[in-house]
Symmetry: C2
Subunit: 375 residues, 2 copies
């Protein structure tokens, strides 16, 4: 990797608070090295100045790269082959608040571009119910087991359950932070973040030491939505960061999905709202895969939990004759015709079919039901 570019991107990553659409535009126009030089010297137009004037003199890219390295992290930049260019392509046509990151600090053995190719975001409320946590873990495991990368935000609640579900089947998972790559947030997820960093990737666009300020969670959510081919919201109140992730995913043209829950649960209100607004209702990982995978490659296998009955598959006339027979007692053909409303001939044909299946038996000129285990 070109050291000059890396230093320029590291500097720009600290200078501008994301999303920084004007600065991203300048970098695209003149390249990161020239852009960094102009920003540092204040030779930029008004929009870029607004995004960079306050911190432009904080020039410590080497220190930041060292701090990242000390935390086991590295900086991935758009000029690097690992950059998930395909995932970020959609950001070009998106509104300003969905500007792509200038660089990404990453920690872990995973390759960012490869992980993103099959990534599904599983997100939701911090105040998850046990139901929501259960479903998130099931989705995390189910998706990871089928080769998907599970992307989430490492928050307590749904996010954590989704990551853990993926880890439980030794699957790939990516956590996108709203703070510096060297910080542990939330503190109670220290072990979880270590496990993610040991097998997948922890990702952040904030420079080392960056604090998890509230607005950063919303800004970070666009990266979760953007790195994945689809986003599943498992539980969400009406006021919820997950709703924002879903909105970002929609803006980026990604598949938005939501898991339903009890209508009596405040934690499912946001999911139901999403479905009413056009999100796809999903109930299990098969359905998620069907929605995000190329057509036909992962058709959801419907389990159709059929409680097979001995009368399954009977033609309608036979079913009507069988219904007409009382549970106990025998009836003659004429009675069955009257009761079922079928012609005598049709009743006789139906009785033959029913007898062959062992559902009725003949007895002194009359017919009665045979007791079949499971009827």
């Amino acid at each position: 990797m070109n050291e000059e570019i890396l230093l320029a991107r590291a500097y720009l990553s600290r200078v501008a608070e994301p999303p920084a659409a004007a600065l991203v535009g300048l970098v695209a126009e003149v390249g990161p090295v020239e852009a960094a030089a102009r920003v540092r010297e204040g030779r930029v137009d008004e929009p870029v100045a607004r995004e960079t004037s306050v911190r432009r003199q904080v020039h410590r890219p080497g220190t930041d790269l060292d701090a990242a390295a000390a935390a086991g992290a590295r900086l991935v930049v758009p000029e690097h082959p690992e950059w998930p260019a395909e995932a970020f392509a959609a950001f070009d046509a998106a509104p300003e608040q969905l500007a792509p990151p200038l660089a990404l600090w990453v920690r872990g053995p995973g390759r960012l571009d490869e992980l993103c190719g099959t990534a599904v975001a599983v997100v939701g409320a911090r105040a998850a119910t046990s139901y929501g946590a259960h479903v998130a873990a099931e989705l995390g495991s189910g998706l990871a087991d089928r080769g998907c990368t599970v992307v989430s935000g490492a928050a307590i609640g749904i996010d954590g359950a989704a990551h853990r579900g993926a880890l439980a089947v030794e699957g790939a998972t990516v956590a996108v932070l709203a703070c510096g790559i060297d910080r542990i947030y939330p503190a109670s997820h220290e072990l979880l973040l270590e496990r993610i960093a040991a097998s997948g990737l922890v990702v952040s666009e904030y420079p080392p030491g960056g604090v998890p300020a509230r607005h950063r969670f919303l800004v970070r959510n666009r990266l979760i939505a953007g790195l994945a081919v689809g986003t599943v919201v498992v539980e969400a109140g009406l006021r919820s960061g997950a709703q924002r992730t879903a909105a970002d995913a929609m803006s980026l043209g990604r598949q938005v999905m939501a898991v339903p829950g009890p209508v009596t649960s405040a934690m499912s209100v946001g999911c139901h709202r999403l479905v009413r607004d056009g999100a796809l209702l999903v109930t299990r990982s098969d359905e998620v895969l069907e929605a995000v995978a190329p057509i036909g490659s992962h058709l959801a296998e419907t389990p159709e939990p059929r409680a097979d009955r001995p009368t399954d598959g009977l033609d309608p006339a036979a079913a009507r004759v069988h219904d007409a027979l009382p549970a106990r007692g025998a009836r003659d053909t004429r009675w069955l015709a009257l009761e079922s409303g079928l012609p005598i001939g049709a009743v006789r044909i139906a009785l033959v079919a029913l007898e062959r299946r062992g559902l009725v038996e003949h007895c002194e000129g009359r017919w009665r039901r045979r007791v079949v285990v499971g009827v």
Copy 2:
């Protein structure tokens, strides 16, 4: 009411097992009196003969009308002003299995056509969960309270809960039976059916004494779907009569709605399938009303259960400055500018706004958060 027509329709009601599309066609062509005469004498073409040959000699319309009267019921026929002609208009363009009834036996003080004008069907599984029964009762009450008639099938489970919900607010409710109007089915709903018949209507297309054979439940479901302007499925397994009601409602061009539930519940599988197949997800009666009522007359009032925060409504810059301030300790303007990434001037403006709202206080040249109840 013309006695001759009533007797003819009563006879036809017993002769043919619904749905009897060919016979309905003949009646439309030559009128009920002539059609009854031809059927009785066997002067009909093959399709009508198939529907009527077995029972055509069971001629006892007077007895049936007397039996109905003895049970407190009457026969409503298409020639009667009470006939819900508007509701059944859609049956004309529907497939054969959705043939309209030849007549309806009804019990109760309600006027069938008036009740149908605002009717919503609330249906679902017999093996309902307590969650489903709760939601059905809430919907029944909510819809009845807003002037809707709650139509259902009087079955145990969701149906019963929906009827009871309507009765609880002294609302209108209609039960459509799959047996004769003089029979009580299920037996455990004797009191419920009496209560429905005392204020609304119990309805059946089967002549007095008709038994509740299994196929009749599915055939009956088309009437539930047809009498209502929309159908809500509250809980349903994958194999469920409620699914059939929903399919019939869709064929008839009615609004189909489904209530979500836990994805872990077998009783919600059918509802989630319906939503995935295009049914509208609904969570409360407001949303049902919005879907079935003329546009604008009943817009669902979104409760938006906002947990108001003192920081709600802050402009983005003020929110960023507020976020940047630590929970404890004071910071100067320059520090806040660096942390928030905003120009000093913007930070000052934000601080004024925050101070005015009582969210920050000035203290020896620095700023700190004020503790606000509820933050």
